[in-house]
């Protein structure tokens, strides 16, 4: 019998095509917002996780400075004896100290002040493997190499008026260096304008001999990194005598970021949910109008034997239809929007693998959700229709 009622309901919707579609649009907006934003949020999470996977889960990062934030360029908060301290633990595999600062860089008499960072060339491969940098053209540092730099993608493009290329010579802090490598594009200016050199060179130009900005501690395989990090933090505070450093593990950072992303996702979906509520109010409005317009028809149906339940069913099918169709169209548009965002983001920052998975739970859930929203918004109007007194309804003009 439901089939018959569906036919009656569809017939009614067809009679008011324009209004039916306008009502559907209200739901489409809400659902497409929910679907696209959820998929994009998931994609962001995937991208962040992928980036951290590259960084590795065996790294403890110690940065000197204050306990409240990462060091600013030119701040050297760790002493060389701190590095020896980190190395003394059995859990430690290697320690990679690094420095960074903004430096005057001159090329064909144009001067700029990008970030220059430096590490021991001995650890170059270890370091690079855990970073999002990748040398696209040229080569990496060799062990003990000095007088060479690897430059960010933008320096090879439009950072300076004249393009810097492999084998170009540039002045960093007044000293001349040869460009031996160019990084792949990362997508943010800070990274794409940076310059890398050996820590020995950096010490000749700007870095103090006995201090560094921070250090990456790579732990041995099988070490419980969170537990070790906790121990290390306590011991190191004792050793230093102050708390002016930040010690973090990639897993802890990842957890934090994922927490933040999770909150953002809830906020976004909450806002999209409001759009859906507006759509649902639209359905209720349309349904009430429909009940009013069809009062006489409801009276006729009752006079030829329609029970309250039958009338209620017909009206609920109509409002559910708004929800289901709005949900399906909204999901399709939402997926397209998410894919559009993916291509936009990837064009903007090519290094970031922005993976949009068309999660069947998200799509199915959105359609189910909007069908339920449709039915819920139809309940009161449908009840009003079914409760009409047949004699009064028949007299209604």
């Amino acid at each position: 019998m439901l089939r018959e009622y569906i036919l009656i309901a569809l017939n009614n919707l067809k009679r008011r095509k324009l209004r039916s579609w306008l009502t559907v649009i209200g739901i489409v907006i809400g659902i497409s917002a929910i679907v696209s934003l959820t998929l994009i949020a998931q994609g962001t999470e995937n991208a962040v996780n992928a980036a951290f996977e590259e960084f590795g889960t065996d790294v403890i990062l110690v940065q000197g400075g204050t306990a409240f934030g990462p060091p600013t360029p030119g701040e050297y908060g760790l002493k060389n004896r701190d590095i020896n301290f980190f190395e003394s633990f059995g859990e430690t595999d290697i320690v990679i100290p690094y420095v960074y600062d903004t430096q005057e860089v001159e090329y064909k008499s144009e001067k700029k002040y990008p970030i220059v960072y430096a590490i021991d060339t001995e650890f170059w491969a270890e370091f690079l493997g855990r970073s999002n940098f990748e040398v696209e053209r040229g080569r990496n540092f060799q062990d003990g190499e000095t007088g060479s730099v690897i430059i960010g993608w933008k320096l090879n493009h439009d950072y300076f008026e004249k393009k810097i290329d492999l084998k170009s010579r540039i002045k960093v802090g007044g000293k001349t260096f040869k460009v031996i490598g160019i990084y792949e594009r990362i997508g943010n200016d800070a990274d794409d304008t940076s310059i890398a050199m050996s820590i020995d060179d950096a010490r000749k130009i700007f870095a103090p001999a006995n201090k560094v900005t921070g250090a990456q501690i790579i732990v041995k395989e099988g070490v419980d990194i969170e537990k070790f990090a906790e121990e290390l933090e306590e011991d190191y505070e004792d050793y230093r005598g102050d708390k002016n450093f930040i010690l973090s593990t990639s897993t802890a950072i990842l957890e934090q970021i994922n927490n933040i992303l999770g909150i953002i996702q809830y906020v976004i979906v909450g806002i999209a949910g409001i759009a859906l509520i507006v759509g649902a109010v639209g359905i209720a409005n349309t349904m009430y109008m429909s009940v009013l317009e069809r009062t006489k028809e409801i009276g006729i149906m009752k006079s030829i034997g329609a029970t309250n339940k039958a009338i209620m069913t017909i009206f609920l099918i109509e409002s559910a239809f708004f929800g289901v169709v709005g949900g399906i169209i909204g999901s399709i548009i939402g997926i397209l929007m998410a894919l559009g965002a993916k291509y936009a983001i990837e064009a903007f920052s090519p290094g970031l693998p922005f993976l949009i998975l068309i999660d069947p739970y998200v799509v199915g859930g959105a359609i189910l959700f909007s069908a339920i929203a449709g039915i819920l918004s139809g309940i009161l109007p449908a009840r009003a229709a079914s409760k009409l007194n047949p004699v009064d309804a028949l007299r209604y003009e």
């Binding site: 018959e4 009622y5 149906m301 009752k302 034997g305 029970t307 309250n308 007194n389 028949l394």
Partner: protein, 225 residues
């Protein structure tokens, strides 16, 4: 005496308008036997439609009891009432009351939908009924594409859809010219011969005179005398 198919026992319909009360029907008792044609006549506002609606189980009496086929319909729930109305009673109204978005055939099929009759059966019966009222060439027309007489014939066909025992008609010829009205009346006579009980509200006394065997109830100010 045979059991009456419809029996009214001291039926009142009172509309409470707050400060005043309208006594639309007062203390009406009557029996209608199977296969009778009954006319209810009276002035406008005398309470004819009110009475007919209660007989047709569209409305509850304020006081008194109404029996249809021995069932006290004044004590039934709304959904039971709808069920009885759909299966035992067929309505014909002055203003046709067809559903304008449905074709003649669909209009005649609709009462059967509410009785959960299978589709093929519905189509077969609806076609047969439309054929009976001479409309087999108008099956797929919408009511707006039909003349008044044709619409009323669709309505008569619809009233017969679930093969009810009683046909109730409120001024069925009121919107029709004399000739078309006569045609509808002939249809009722024919249906009556097939065994149906027919109750007609009218103030067309010519219509009454031309009907061979019938009963007349005159209603004055809500009362039958």
């Amino acid at each position: 005496m045979t059991n009456p198919i419809i029996s009214l026992k001291k039926v009142w319909k009172i509309y409470d308008m707050g400060d005043s009360k309208i006594y639309a029907n007062r203390n009406i008792s009557l029996d209608i036997n199977k296969n009778e044609i009954v006319f209810i006549v009276g002035k406008s506002g005398s309470g004819k439609s009110t009475l007919l609606n209660m007989i047709g189980s569209l409305d509850y009496p304020s006081r008194g009891k109404i029996f249809l086929d021995g069932i006290n319909i004044s004590s039934l729930t709304e959904s039971d009432l709808a069920q009885i109305r759909g299966s035992k009673i067929g309505f014909v109204f002055q203003s046709f009351n067809l559903i304008n978005s449905m074709t003649a055939l669909e209009n005649v099929m609709l009462p059967m939908t509410f009785q959960e009759i299978p589709v093929e059966e519905k189509i077969k019966r609806a076609k047969k009924l439309l054929n009976k009222v001479d409309l087999n060439h108008r099956l797929n027309n919408l009511p707006t594409e039909l003349s008044g007489g044709e619409r009323q014939r669709v309505a008569v066909a619809r009233s017969l859809a679930n093969n009810p025992e009683v046909i109730i008609a409120d001024e069925p010829t009121g919107n029709l010219d004399t000739k078309t009205g006569k045609m509808i009346m002939n249809l009722f006579n024919e249906i009556n011969k097939e065994g149906k009980t027919i109750i007609i509200v009218t103030h067309d006394l010519d219509l009454v005179k031309r009907t061979s065997e019938h009963k007349i109830y005159k209603i004055v100010d809500g009362e039958i005398n």
